[in-house]
Symmetry: C2
Amino acid sequence: MWIPDRQSKKPLYQQIADHLEQRISYGEYPPGSLLPSERKLADQLGVNRSTVILAFAELRSMGIIESRTGSGTRVSKTKWGATPKHTPNWSRYAEGGSFLPNPPFMRRIREALHQHPSLIDFASGELSADLAPNDEITKLMSEHKYTSYLGYDNPQGYVPLRQALVSYLERHRGIHTTESSILITSGSQQSLYLITQCLLSPGDAVAIEDPSYCYSLPMFQSAGLRLFRLPVDSSGIRPEDIRALYKKHRIKMVFMNPNFQNPTGMVFDAERRKQLLDLASELRLPIVEDDPFSLTAYDGVPPSPLKSMDMIGSILYIGSFSKIAASGMRIGWMVAPNSIVERLADARQQMDFGLSVIPQQVAAQFLNSNHFVPHLERLRMQLQFKRDLLIEALQKELPDLVTFSIPQGGLHLWCKLIPEVHDGKLLEEAIRRGVVFVPGSVYGSDSGYIRFTYARAKAEEIGPGIAKFAEALRELIGEKPAL
Amino acid sequence: MWIPDRQSKKPLYQQIADHLEQRISYGEYPPGSLLPSERKLADQLGVNRSTVILAFAELRSMGIIESRTGSGTRVSKTKWGATPKHTPNWSRYAEGGSFLPNPPFMRRIREALHQHPSLIDFASGELSADLAPNDEITKLMSEHKYTSYLGYDNPQGYVPLRQALVSYLERHRGIHTTESSILITSGSQQSLYLITQCLLSPGDAVAIEDPSYCYSLPMFQSAGLRLFRLPVDSSGIRPEDIRALYKKHRIKMVFMNPNFQNPTGMVFDAERRKQLLDLASELRLPIVEDDPFSLTAYDGVPPSPLKSMDMIGSILYIGSFSKIAASGMRIGWMVAPNSIVERLADARQQMDFGLSVIPQQVAAQFLNSNHFVPHLERLRMQLQFKRDLLIEALQKELPDLVTFSIPQGGLHLWCKLIPEVHDGKLLEEAIRRGVVFVPGSVYGSDSGYIRFTYARAKAEEIGPGIAKFAEALRELIGEKPAL
């Protein structure tokens, strides 16, 4: 990102005006389009708002931009010669299609993290850099010659990676499968996207856990699905609720995250699992099992997936590297009956023509290497350590104001606030103090819940982050800070 | 892929029966699902059909599968215990959603290439392994430490790659842009998918070239767009046709491939380019410019993109590495106004959460390295050499039966057959003789046209491949082979 040069003799406002003029002339902001606000630009460029005001005034005097009270600053339409040239009405195109934007809280969090990289991040559901196997991957990349054919990949994904996953699934997840039943995807996200777009039709009813990360994914609404809730208690969902939803709404599919559920951290009860599988068979109802967290089990004994008990093929099983290795690899997988894998592979070709071979080769090497199991052990210990730091900080800072169950795996702690506070106000107050989290309403819960991710922040940030959060909360409920 | 062990003492049919039983028990073929046909399995496993018939008989006697005349062989539903267990009706789910499958010819070609890897491939629109910069990429991967953060990437793509593309676009394509105007995509395919899904709505009218590779992409129909044709003559499309379509159908967007058009190889005329840009401004009509082939220009002087003349931001510019480096990297880019890039980046997060950082880092290193320009020079020379081999072979084998213009860049030769033949019969006859091409009707043209890709086959395959094709053609029109 460009920022003005404070050593230069050219005044800051003039540098900014020149820079914006260039971006406008290059087409980033076509005639008639809206520029970022003065405040946003000042934030991005690290200058005072008054400097941006001066830069805008300069561009206005040159006829390049126009400001109108209340409607912001736009690129001029008449500057470009005697006959005004017309650009397409891009803002109308940007509203086209059936894709809903991300939920407002998620966009606000992303924007805040982008503008203030120093925020302590309890929001992003991913591992911190030191938890990812960067060294191992660097080593593998430099040791192994890259020899694969760099043409279009097999539509189901790179064969050696699917072979490595057959062993991985057998050894670590108790799932017996074959390479032709595996589809490699760009993380669980793409598996879910393919399922919602290609196996379901607009108007179809589906059941999802409540609360669930599925509510944070606008893809379900974008696909026109009707969502029905399966409340999660301390043993997970209740199978009889599925029967009731099936009778009432003819639900077509159930989406579940049975092990260390996101956001609650719950593990689905063993007895209920059997009931669920019987019910799925009776109703011929497909279950989508998302299983990203199991291998983080802090006791080293990952709970089994539903898929390992699935004798008849009711379950579409989804896994990924994102939460156990590195989200930036973008490697996920789905295990499904042949007809489904072929259908989704064909559709995915139409979307992006498959994944890059390079990270797939690296992922296969990593799975087959003797780095993988030690990495998992280290990851489990460090996640548990961070979880304990978070719990300690919450007990110190907010002993009277929060309750939670202690998760035995995963990256998240689901927290109930005892006082009533406004979700949005609490988030803004927290951002102002340098910390960010996800309000529970994003996951479909009532207000008053919060998801703290302890995997993403550095260990030394966790205590100070919760101290800032406590200040924000006490400010809102009118209490003096504890200190 | 598993194949039976011919050294084993266990009979082949028994090995196959055991293998299928395992795949069935693992859920690849759930109860009630259809197995591949005897012929297809025999092909895949490299055995006689009679061996598969024996294996099926074995499984049938065990109650694992059931065959009914005319409806194929299915996995038994009643084998699984006294109470029959029910699997979801997967075949109905596989028909859900709005994604159309690939066109029948394309599926037939893919299937034939999968089953017979020795086919001479004039169909796949990509480079052969020896044209890809494998050595350079291997070298870069082993020389550079992989140090990037492996978390979720910036939604618009890896910043150093976008920075490298700003220089690349300036130097090689005459396009001035900024990193914030660039979206990194999984090849041109994902750029087109994002545009058709997110900027247009079902029922919208768009104009595409005729013939055009767009007809081979079911994504346009899947998005519910109405397609109108712009005939391509030896100078490309005629701008006045766009005006007529706009008046009649209110077209919302135009899709073009102005340089070495796929499939015709035409370069859009300079005078018409100016008219097109004026018209786009007058009608406020966005033009999508797909520009994958320009840098293959055999004279070393790539034709300029429309985007380099676009002063007002009418053009969404798409580029990729697929045709100039390696399709398996899955690296493409779009240059667009800020509002469009942000919208598409947000939607893409919902589909796949962005690309892997690893190939993006490799691509940036490759662009910035001193390997890139020599690679392009070598590529151009070798493509021209292969084109000449193809032309020579056509002139030798079919001097009286085909006509074509000689392409000055790109990977394809567009060929008109003088005798009338049935597209599908010619394709089957060619496959039977060991060669595959794409019938022109896939690109929306009348029958009697063929696209030969000369980039994918090995140089030494081109002559023999055309000889086989000539045999197939002469067989169909009832002529004796020339030899």
